[in-house]
């Protein structure tokens, strides 16, 4: 089940003109197993910029980077969104960070930087002398018609949760459109990552969405190792799998409890948080920290697992599995729970594919994509599962299935922990003009860290694509035609990161 090998996805580079970019990308994506990874821009020098597109070949485990340099003084490029809807937020983010306009984008507006909170002429990642297009005032989509009313929610929400704005357009209690406006937590991580010494970048990289510390740290480590052409020792690779799967287990268990809470089913809401706590205690045994911070690092991991703790961990995973297996049917086989979740917030497989919805939410809508199959850094589940219903219930059931597969991976990895050092020495410098990509199936889905160095071997561009960056659109689509009162439940069934999206 577990194949450990150096994660060095084969990398090809293609340089195209901005006018040909959409055609080239769509042609490549017709090949079986190819996926759109991310789109962003990069400063080549003070005046010149390029649009970069990352494509993943999931069958061969390879990555392709298309670069479209823009002409001097050019601040726009033809949008890819019409052919590739999954790129729609990425192009808007490039608009805010670089001041480059995607011409032909069907919903062009700012995303991360709001004009009433940021200087309108600030494009933080643009070159000093680069041409830019001004950021226009933000306008929500107006739904008009008899009886249409709007409900604005946020940025601060009612519970203990991250901030973001939801604008519901409703007819009575039925949502006809949801527009999600995020960016409130933009902290400039990608910019900071080009300023700090690369050997300390891991601390910042894993703060991209700190509830996914192991996932982000792993994606960062893989990207840096890809750049350097090194691989972690086998024991470190196995310990990383433990961290990644414990993170998945803790969050999926927490989500089952939170979903129960959102429908007022108190047995689920009170039984699952202690199980989540037990998982965090296991994470602390492994990494020293409940949230698994500062553990995974380029070249290996920060601390070893001695045999006493290994046995304690194995015992802990088995005890936890027994309790979770006992409690899950109380939720997912309860008639009241099923009635409340069945058919709510349905996302069709077609739209899930078009918008590249990832993780459990994607698999609940038939995508079948799990980056653990692609990336050798994550042990794939024994049997990749998917559902086609695409509703809240399917997303809850996917989590239950992934809890079981994570337990199996943890048990197997703990039973067969290889003996080796846990860290390889890192070279003093990064190679010049190189690209490193780290792909991880974090608990929310495919997480990408994409690093490009300049001619001096310094990090020129550090791009992060959180799974939530794909999936927020999935939530906006899934809630259409549903009751306003079902939004919290539907939102929780996706459980997306705001900070990972805002960066």
């Amino acid at each position: 089940m577990t194949t450990l090998q150096p994660c060095a996805p084969a990398l090809s580079h293609i340089t195209v003109t901005p006018a040909d970019l959409a055609t080239q990308v769509t042609a490549l994506l017709l090949q079986p197993g190819w996926r759109f990874g991310h789109l962003t821009a990069r400063s080549l020098d003070a005046r010149h910029t390029a649009i970069d597109v990352l494509l993943l070949d999931t069958q061969r485990g390879a990555v392709t980077c298309l670069t479209a340099p823009l002409a001097d003084g050019q601040a726009e490029y033809p949008s890819l969104t019409a052919q590739l809807p999954a790129a729609h937020w990425a192009e808007r983010a490039v608009g805010d960070l670089f001041g480059l306009r995607a011409v032909g984008h069907p919903r062009w507006k700012s995303m991360l930087l709001h004009n009433d909170r940021w200087p309108v002429d600030l494009f933080p990642l643009a070159g000093a002398a680069q041409a830019t297009t001004p950021r226009e005032p933000y306008r929500f989509l107006q739904v008009s018609g008899s009886g249409i009313h709007e409900i604005p929610v946020g940025p601060i929400h009612a519970g203990i949760i991250e901030p973001g704005h939801f604008r519901f357009s409703c007819v009575g209690e039925i949502i006809t459109n949801l527009e999600i406006r995020l960016g409130y937590q933009h902290r400039g991580i990608e910019g900071r990552l080009t300023e700090v010494p690369w050997r300390q970048a891991r601390y910042l990289a894993e703060s991209a969405s700190s509830d996914t510390a192991a996932g982000n740290a792993l994606a960062h480590a893989l990207a840096v190792e890809h750049l350097l052409g090194i691989a972690p020792p086998p024991r470190a690779a196995a310990l990383r799998i433990l961290a990644l799967e414990l993170e998945r287990l803790a969050n999926h268990i927490g989500d089952i409890g939170a979903l129960s809470g959102d429908i007022g089913y108190s047995p689920g809401a009170s039984l699952f948080p202690p199980l989540r706590g037990a998982t965090l205690a296991l994470a602390q045994t492994l990494t020293g920290n409940r949230r698994q911070r500062w553990f995974v690092q380029p070249g290996g991991v920060a601390r070893d697992l001695d045999d006493a703790r290994r046995r304690a961990l194995l015992q802990g995973v088995q005890d936890l599995a027994r309790r979770v297996t006992d409690h899950l049917p109380l939720v997912l086989e309860h008639a009241g729970v099923l009635e409340r979740m069945d058919g709510v917030g349905r996302l069709s497989p077609t739209l899930a594919r078009d918008f590249s919805i990832v993780g459990p939410a994607g698999r609940a809508s038939g995508t079948g994509y799990d980056a653990r199959v692609f990336s050798p850094a994550g042990a794939p589940p024994a049997a990749a599962t998917r559902r086609i219903e695409g509703d809240v219930l399917a997303r809850a059931q996917m989590r239950a299935e992934e809890i079981a597969s994570s337990v199996a991976i943890l048990t197997q990895t703990l039973d067969t922990l290889p003996d080796s050092p846990i860290q390889v020495a890192l070279p003093a410098t990064l190679p010049p003009d190189a690209v490193g990509v780290g792909v991880v199936e974090a608990w929310r889905g495919e997480l990408l860290h994409w690093v490009t160095t300049n001619a001096d071997g310094a990090i020129a561009r550090y791009a992060i694509k959180d799974p939530s960056f794909n999936n927020w659109t999935g939530l906006a689509i899934a809630i259409r035609g549903n009751l306003v009162t079902d939004f919290p439940l539907c939102n929780k069934s996706f459980n997306l990161s705001y900070s990972g999206n805002d960066l």
Partner: protein, 244 residues
């Protein structure tokens, strides 16, 4: 179909009976400065990702308000001047108390509002540290059960005595945070949870101006850590209430 109520009864009382236990040995505690004399090698300073340590001669000063708790300094300290703290009562009432030194000066702990000793209603505002939010949520679960200390999280700032902030408060959230505070009735206080909220942590100095809770807000308790342990968060809440 199993009976959920039977499962609840069988699970028994989940609430932890011992308050503020020390961290177990396998956990990495926040660094602390011991009396052991420092020989000034500076390894801790070079390795610290947030420049939280200053070494001048044999004097070591550690700013827990900037420290992430990564443990790098403890691992490389040859003299044991920097060591791990096992206690979970790590919150303090003033920013100055977060500065730890092997040559500590006199301390005058400040008093808190006596009005809110028995019950505190808290509005949490998150600004970019989702792990910190999860630990705040954990403090409300059946195990930590912060409600037994009289602390309740509320939805509206109109109902709140305290504003609990996580995350480094960048440009995008600054106005929302200040408006939330303005909507609260007097007396009101602010609690900064996590290194990001206290100083901006890793984000400090960037273009997003994410340098922590604005210093013009009156902060009644600081809870260091990235993120802090739920017990430390509860400690911060109790300190803000004038208890500990």
């Amino acid at each position: 179909m199993r009976n959920p109520f039977l499962a609840l009864v069988r699970a028994g009382t989940q609430t932890l009976t011992q308050s503020f236990p020390d961290l177990p040995t396998e956990a990495t505690g926040l660094p602390t400065v011991t009396a052991a004399s420092c020989r000034g090698c500076g390894a801790c300073v070079a390795g610290c990702p947030t420049q939280a340590i200053v070494v001048a001669g044999d004097e070591v000063t550690l700013d827990r308000g900037r420290c992430l708790g990564c443990g790098q300094c403890v691992r490389c300290c040859p003299t044991g001047t920097l060591a791990e703290e096992r206690a979970t009562r790590t919150a303090v009432r003033t920013r100055a108390e977060l500065l730890l030194s092997n040559h500590p000066g006199p301390r005058t702990p400040s008093a808190a509002l006596p009005l809110l000793r028995r019950s505190l209603h808290v509005r949490e505002v998150s600004t970019g540290d989702s792990a910190g939010d999860l630990e705040v949520i954990a403090s409300t679960n059946a195990q930590f059960d912060v409600a037994r200390f009289g602390v309740h999280f509320v939805a509206s700032p109109r109902h709140a005595d305290a504003l609990l902030v996580t995350g480094p408060v960048g440009r995008g959230m600054r106005e929302a945070l200040l408006r939330c505070y303005a909507a609260m009735a007097e007396p009101r206080l602010v609690i900064a949870v996590g290194t990001d909220a206290i100083s901006g942590g890793l984000f400090r100095g960037g273009y997003a101006e994410a340098n922590g809770v604005p210093t013009d807000l009156p902060i009644a308790a600081y809870v260091p850590g990235a993120p802090p342990h739920p017990w430390s968060i509860i400690h911060g809440l109790l300190l803000a209430m004038g208890r500990d």
